[in-house]
Symmetry: C2
DNA sequence: GTCTATAGAGTGATAGAC
DNA sequence: GTCTATCACTCTATAGAC
C-alpha cells in the first residue's frame, strides 16, 4: 500500500485552501479528501474533532500568521515602515485579490455562530494594531481608529468585489487608494 | 387541515432570507421548509429546478428591486438627490448592517461559479449607475467611476465587518463617511 | 515485535429531488 | 412521504519507523 506522510501543518494549509474556496458548508469531507489527497484516516488522525476542529485550527493558524507578519510589526516597529509593509503583506497574502479572506467569508453566514470569538478577534486585532501604529505617527486616537477601520473595510470590500467581478485589478487599486488616504492623514 | 396559500413572490422573499442567513450550501431543504413553513410540495411547485432555481429567482428579484429603487433613479433623476436617496435606501435595505448582501456572500465561495453573470451584473450595474449620476454632477468620468467603485467596496466591506464584529454602528458610520467623500468630490 | 500514520470500505443520518 | 446520493464520521487493516 502506497503511503505518503504529511506534517500536520501541511494538512492545515491544504485543508485551509479547500475551506477558502468552498466555504465551511460547501467543503464536504469527500471534496477535502479529493482536493488535498489526504485520506479520511489522516484527516481524522490530525483532526479528531472533524470539520469543526479543522476550521478552528485553520483560523488559529491564520491568526498566528497575521500576528507574526503584520500585527506584531504594527505594534512594535517604526509605524510608517510597518504600515508600508502591511500593504505589501496584504497584497501578497490575498494574491492581489484572487484569494478570498476565509475569516471574512465565515463571518457572512451562520458559520459565524460557530466561531464568533475567533472571527471577532481577528478583525479587532487587525484594526487595533493598525490604529496603534497610526497613533504612533502622531494621529489622535479617534482619527487613527477611524482610519484603521476604513482600511480593513476597504480590504474586505475589495476582496468581495474583485471576486464578484472576476477583476484582478480592483484589489491593487484599492490598496493603493487606502495607502494614499492613510499617508495623507498621518503626514 | 389548516392550509396556507402563498404567492410565488412571497415564497421568493421567504426563501431569500434563509439563503441570506445560511448561504447557498448551508441552506438545506429541511431548513428552508422549517423556516419558511412552506412544504416541500409548495417549494417544488414554485421552483421545479430546486435550490438552483430558487437562488436564481431570488437574485433576479433582488436585481429587479435594486433596478427600481436605486439604479433607475441614479440613471434618470437629479443626480444629487438620487445619490442622497441611495444612502437611505442602502441603509434601510441592509437594516443598518444587520442584514448581509446575499449576492456579495455568494461571490465569496464556489456559489459564484453557479451564477457568475447574475453576480457580475448586479455589481456592475450598481457601480455604473452611481458613476453615471456622479458624472452628471460634473465629475470627470474616470473620477466618477473610481468613486462609485469606492462606495460599493465600502458598503460590502462594512457589511462584512459589521457582521464579523457584531457591531451595529459600523454600517451607518461607513455610509456617512462615504457620503461625505462623494459630496466633497462632487461639490 | 510495538507504535503511529494512512488507507479506504463501511456506518447511520440526512441531503436534495420528485 | 419516498427515493437515491451523499453527508460527516468510524473502524479495521496495514505500511513503515523503530
Amino acid at each position: 500500500m502506497a503511503r505518503i506522510v504529511f506534517e500536520k501543518s501541511d494538512a492545515i494549509a491544504l485543508v485551509a485552501e479547500v475551506f477558502r474556496e468552498l466555504g465551511y458548508e460547501g467543503a464536504s469531507m469527500s471534496e477535502i479528501t479529493a482536493r488535498t489527497k489526504l485520506s479520511k484516516g489522516s484527516l481524522y488522525h490530525f483532526f479528531p474533532g472533524g470539520k469543526e476542529q479543522m476550521a478552528a485550527e485553520i483560523m488559529a493558524h491564520i491568526d498566528a500568521w497575521f500576528a507574526t507578519e503584520m500585527f506584531g510589526p504594527l505594534e512594535k516597529e517604526a509605524p510608517r515602515a510597518a504600515i508600508a509593509r502591511m500593504w505589501e503583506t496584504t497584497d501578497s497574502y490575498f494574491r492581489s485579490g484572487r484569494r478570498v479572506c476565509l475569516i471574512g467569508a465565515f463571518a457572512l453566514d451562520e458559520t459565524r455562530d460557530r466561531f464568533p470569538a475567533a472571527i471577532r478577534g481577528y478583525f479587532h486585532r487587525w484594526i487595533d494594531a493598525l490604529a496603534g501604529a497610526l497613533t504612533r505617527t502622531g494621529l489622535p486616537g479617534a482619527a487613527a481608529k477611524a482610519l484603521a477601520e476604513e482600511a480593513v473595510i476597504g480590504i474586505q470590500g475589495a476582496l468581495t468585489l474583485a471576486r464578484a467581478l472576476g477583476d484582478d485589478t480592483i484589489f491593487g487599486r484599492t490598496l493603493a487608494r487606502l495607502k494614499r488616504t492613510l499617508e495623507a492623514a498621518s503626514g
